[in-house]
């Protein structure tokens, strides 16, 4: 498995779309659809649209904000994308439960006393008490986060473990407590000893250690006593952060990998598609015989697996009057957009890499043979086709996250989309791109 951090942001600036709202594009009853995960009132865990989703929950329905009623749904739970949020700028803390303290268990031949959800000095934390009767060593007395809190590491980067730690008393002599992630690789050992424990009594301190894994694989947090304790001691732990890089950065609170927040930064919301079976679809979208369409989508792909971000109809390769946005779109691993007229198709491609969010857009005027695909405000490379052969946009179901709900599954985050049954003007496209860029956390 591959976990990709997304510290990167798009470098191409957008101009501010002051006072612009996509609702203006539909104010005269234009056909189309508008999906906006950031509007939490439109994302639901049930098909009826009565139970608003919270971050971390599967999404059965996302409503169309355009007023056209083209809501997208998925009834099967395993195929539902996950509603997510992260701070603008992306996720750094890979530990899925940084503040939740309900997942430690006590293990070893003489397990410690573990109190999940404890309170110490006014802070929620886990409290782990070791006594002199407990056997030192990993197999003797340790607390352990369950598999649900495991983190996948790779060997191509250092990882920094940081945690806020407090003690009930200073350690003395040779007493040592280790707080670290381990599993496939022993990772980031925070060692508490007599030398550094004094400042941990009466307050929490953030301790951090960086290390490059020797072996790729899952690791989980497992504090234990390295030596026998001379008297009872309780270690209090919270605000655990595990991140790529050699130094600890500002703390991000994670309730799951799909619910991450950071003090002082605004939240960005998305639907996470797993690239394996997640997909949503609408009923048949009526375009009213439109001969042009403008489509914008904000997404961040998480892998090199071919993936449909959105597609009108079951297959743009064969169905006239349809279109798609894909990331990536083909074997060259570039992202792209594609539209088909009455007889032929046109394709635009864009170099991009997993983990780099962006706004994809295009306007396709079928009789006019105009096709203008863009990525983050710049033109894509036109690679296939010079004409659409006329035609009009045909009424089809719209699919999110997969081709016809059954193949080319998109791996990544979907931050929103706007589809309008006419050719938007250059300024309208720019405004809509800037609006979506803000939604995706791309620097506007």
């Amino acid at each position: 498995m591959r976990i990709v951090t997304d510290l990167s942001v798009c470098g191409r600036p957008f101009r501010s779309g002051r006072a612009f709202s996509p609702s203006l594009l539909f104010s005269s009853g234009q056909r189309g659809a508008w999906y906006d995960p950031s509007d939490g009132r439109r994302v639901f865990t049930d098909l009826a649209g009565t139970l608003a989703a919270t971050p971390g929950e599967p999404v059965a329905r996302i409503d169309d904000r355009s007023g056209n009623g083209n809501h997208a749904t998925q009834a099967t739970v395993a195929k539902q994308p996950i509603f997510g949020r992260h701070p603008v700028g992306g996720i750094r803390n890979l530990h899925p439960f940084s503040q939740s303290d309900t997942l430690f268990s006590a293990l070893g031949s003489t397990p410690p006393v573990v109190q999940n959800g404890a309170e110490h000095l006014g802070e929620s934390c886990v409290a782990i008490t070791f006594t002199p009767a407990m056997t030192p060593g990993f197999s003797g007395s340790r607390a352990e986060r369950s598999a649900a809190a495991a983190v996948q590491v790779t060997t191509d980067s250092a990882y920094t473990t940081s945690a806020h730690i407090s003690l009930s008393r200073p350690l003395v002599g040779a007493e040592r407590i280790r707080v670290y992630f381990t599993g496939a690789s022993a990772q980031g050992e925070i060692i508490v000893t007599a030398a550094n424990s004094g400042g941990l009594v009466g307050g929490f301190q953030r301790l951090e250690v960086a290390k490059t894994p020797a072996v790729a694989g899952p690791v989980t947090l497992r504090p234990f006593i390295e030596t026998a304790m001379g008297a009872d001691v309780t270690i209090y732990i919270n605000r655990v952060q595990f991140e790529k890089g050699a130094t600890a950065t500002a703390y991000q609170e994670t309730r799951s990998l799909f619910d991450v927040t950071e003090a002082g930064l605004r939240d960005v919301f998305y639907l996470a598609f797993d690239g394996i079976d997640d997909a949503m679809q609408t009923g048949v979208v009526s375009w009213g015989g439109a001969t042009a369409v403008s489509v914008l989508a904000a997404a961040r792909r998480g892998s090199d697996n071919l993936g449909i971000v959105l597609e009108s109809g079951p297959n743009t390769n064969s169905v006239a009057g349809t279109f798609l946005v894909a990331a990536p779109i083909g074997g060259d691993l570039r992202d792209g957009a594609m539209a088909r007229g009455a007889s032929s198709m046109r394709v635009g491609r864009q170099d991009n890499a997993p983990g780099n969010p962006g706004v994809y857009s295009f306007t396709a005027d079928l009789p006019g043979n105009t096709f203008a695909p863009r990525f983050n405000g710049g033109p894509m490379t036109l690679t296939t086709g010079t004409t659409f052969g006329g035609g009009n946009v045909t009424d089809q179901s719209l699919y999110l996250g997969a081709r016809a709900g059954s193949s080319s599954f998109f791996t990544g985050r979907f931050y929103g989309a706007i589809l309008v049954g006419r050719a938007l003007s250059t300024s309208e496209v720019a405004q809509a791109e800037a609006w979506l860029a803000t939604r995706a956390g791309v620097t506007p």
């Binding site: 739970v77 649900a148 983190v151 996948q152 799909f258 390769n317 074997g331 193949s407």
Partner: protein, 139 residues
């Protein structure tokens, strides 16, 4: 954590009954559809993947009981139990070797949370280039 399940085509029917027991309603009978994944021997599989809490794993290994929503007896509990008996559960925290793929068993991989690649080595999806034009012109 993320649960990824590979189901041999012959077991899709029972596996969907089990999916309803462990899921939320009759729509979960569509969890596994016609297999589009293949192993090296040419056996076909359906693959499903989803985020789950540890309760899911516990329920998957406990005696099955008909869920409260199924008042009309939609679920064939015998077939659900048949699927349960074929489960092979694997976690990288317990076993460094990759999970086994078996054409006679339903393989369940328990991996860290997040968007995941399919953790079954040798299992590939039948998929085609989205554009159909097979362009490979990386700069």
């Amino acid at each position: 954590m993320r649960i990824t399940v590979s189901c041999p085509e012959a077991l899709i029917g029972p596996a969907n009954q089990l999916a309803m027991v462990l899921g939320e309603g009759p729509a979960d009978a569509a969890t596994f559809r016609v297999g589009s994944w293949r192993d090296a021997a040419g056996h076909t599989y359906a693959v499903a993947s989803f985020e789950a809490g540890e309760a899911w794993l516990e329920h998957a290994q406990m005696p099955l009981r008909r869920p409260d929503w199924d008042e009309e007896g939609t679920i064939d509990m015998d077939r659900a139990r048949q699927a349960q008996e074929r489960l092979l559960i694997w976690s990288p925290l317990d076993n460094a070797a990759p999970p086994a793929i078996s054409s006679s068993h339903i393989s369940v991989a328990v991996t860290p949370s997040g968007i995941a690649a399919v953790p079954f080595p040798g299992l590939v999806i039948d998929d085609t280039d989205i554009t159909g034009d097979q362009v490979r012109d990386l700069p």
